[in-house]
Symmetry: C2
């Protein structure tokens, strides 16, 4: 049996006896010598690589992506009997860390502090005695009401940290309930909940349903002091509406790790929106626990047991 | 019985029956009508206010400061029988939140992202696929070795959050042991521990012993990729040595909420040190739980039981 590993990150999974692991260039076509592969691991594949896999790997039974979002792989044209698994959970720690970095940076006004520093100015507005809860802004997670929209693995990793820092955290997902001790509301109830939300964290996946989810209506429903973080997908935010809300002062601040499109064109006016922090899709990009996931899922494939995060097809 | 509350923050403590609370201007002399006060609460007092209290409050039995550091109050000249209590713990959540904000901002290179944003540049260096543990820098708390030097209430509040984010946390204090599940080393062992430290968080108080604690020797012992955070006192860092380490590339980056002196003069070359983020002493500045602390300690004063965080005099 043969498994193809991408050269885009160091990997060393533990495989069942008799399995051969071959590292291939994830940016080019798969060499003919390896068209007999049974399993393919994908991390940052080029389109050419993906097409080559679809066309040439006749023995392929299982595709393990290390990405959390696999919409591009599901529609690439693999045979229906090929199992495709997402790398769900491999990015929970890194993406939640980045979401927290963006949020705390905005709460603690670090971009403004950096600008004052460049002017050699010890800003009395940014330091010294201050109210814990000023009327017109949120400056700390203590007592802050946070809503995590798209409450999957990343949100569930992030929530306890926000709680430990003093925030009141709720999630929003397709079905209501309690997950890991966090109250989760239905997505249809998000709009009604927003007037009480200080921080909205968007971790929505890309889909037809989520396109433009954070649009004019949502932004208008949030308080003027609210902070928006997006570490989900760029398409979920209406960027024109976001810029207008920031310019009008009807949104406190925003931090985006994702945009639509990516890269964001140099001519896009979003770059200059006030109180906006953009990072170039750097939240994840480094799967944690990839070897263990590959090992577990290859074992499951061999044993005929459940493959973790296999997509419904 | 009378308690004087400062006008520098909203306060509404629960007091024993018969007690009168009077709010006074913390920036000026205490009015003669209130020279009969039994208890004085201090938050951001002016020197004039403090002198007036020392000279005029003949019935004074107890001073409750809401600050964590009370060196200035202890040396102000109050009679030896006046109990003076520090506001220890009231700043743990806010200061640990700020330390985390500075640290995550540096780990996730948000100042560089902000600069790229100003140039309308989608920096491929700051995003996309990346190694989890590059050789020459620390980019995540996952697996990072953190040492918190000065492991009091703030450090013990911060440690579990860092651990939850994937860091390996140790403390350094006057005596070794285990506190709240965190291994604490003796301060005399700090220098030997530094070569293995990725992040050094300074939460040391100001004292003769801590002056310049983070100096040439400490900075040289840290790896070149290490990150330094100071939310303790500015005097604990040798700022010339820090600037030289940043300029020479023998320290990864640094975040300071405190400097020596404060405000940092506009002419100080520290402002322009590379990979340095300065905030103007804004970590705390907003006591959390002040009413409860005042209530508890006035009750203890009346009952003759132990007053929380009373200073040894």
């Amino acid at each position: 049996m043969k498994i193809l590993l991408p050269d885009t990150m160091p990997l060393d999974p533990t495989l069942p006896e008799g399995w051969e692991a071959v590292t291939v260039d994830a940016r080019t076509e798969i060499p003919a010598a390896h068209h007999d592969a049974d399993v393919l691991v994908l991390w940052g594949p080029s389109r050419v690589h993906l097409s080559s896999a679809v066309e040439n790997l006749d023995n392929l039974r299982f595709v393990q992506s290390l990405s959390a979002g696999i919409d591009g792989i599901l529609t690439a044209g693999f045979r229906d009997d090929v199992v495709i698994a997402a790398g769900a959970g491999l990015h929970s720690l890194t993406v939640s860390e980045h979401a927290l970095a963006l949020l705390l940076s905005l709460l603690r006004r670090l971009p403004e502090a950096r600008e004052a520093q460049a002017r050699h100015e010890w800003s009395t507005e940014l330091g010294g005695l201050q109210p814990l809860h000023p009327e017109d802004r949120v400056t700390s997670l203590i007592g802050a009401k946070v809503l995590i929209w798209g409450f999957g693995q990343i949100g569930q990793t992030l929530a306890p940290t926000l709680t430990a820092l003093g925030a009141q955290v709720r999630g929003a997902a397709r079905s209501a309930g309690t997950r890991n001790g966090v109250e989760v509301i239905e997505e249809t109830d998000v709009l009604a909940a927003l007037p009480e939300v200080d921080v909205l964290i968007d971790i929505l996946p890309a889909s037809e349903q989520t396109a433009g989810a954070v649009g004019r209506e949502v932004l208008a429903a949030l308080p003027d002091h609210a902070i928006l973080i997006n570490v989900g997908r760029g398409t979920t935010v209406d960027q024109v509406a976001l810029r207008e809300a920031l310019e009008a002062g009807t949104l406190g601040s925003a931090g985006l790790d994702v945009t639509d499109p990516e890269p964001l064109p140099a001519t896009d006016p979003l770059w200059d929106a006030p109180r906006l922090l953009i990072t170039p899709h750097g939240a994840g990009g480094r799967p944690v626990g990839a070897d263990e996931r590959i090992s577990t899922n290859v074992r499951a494939l061999v044993d005929g047991t459940e493959i973790l995060h296999a997509a419904a097809r």
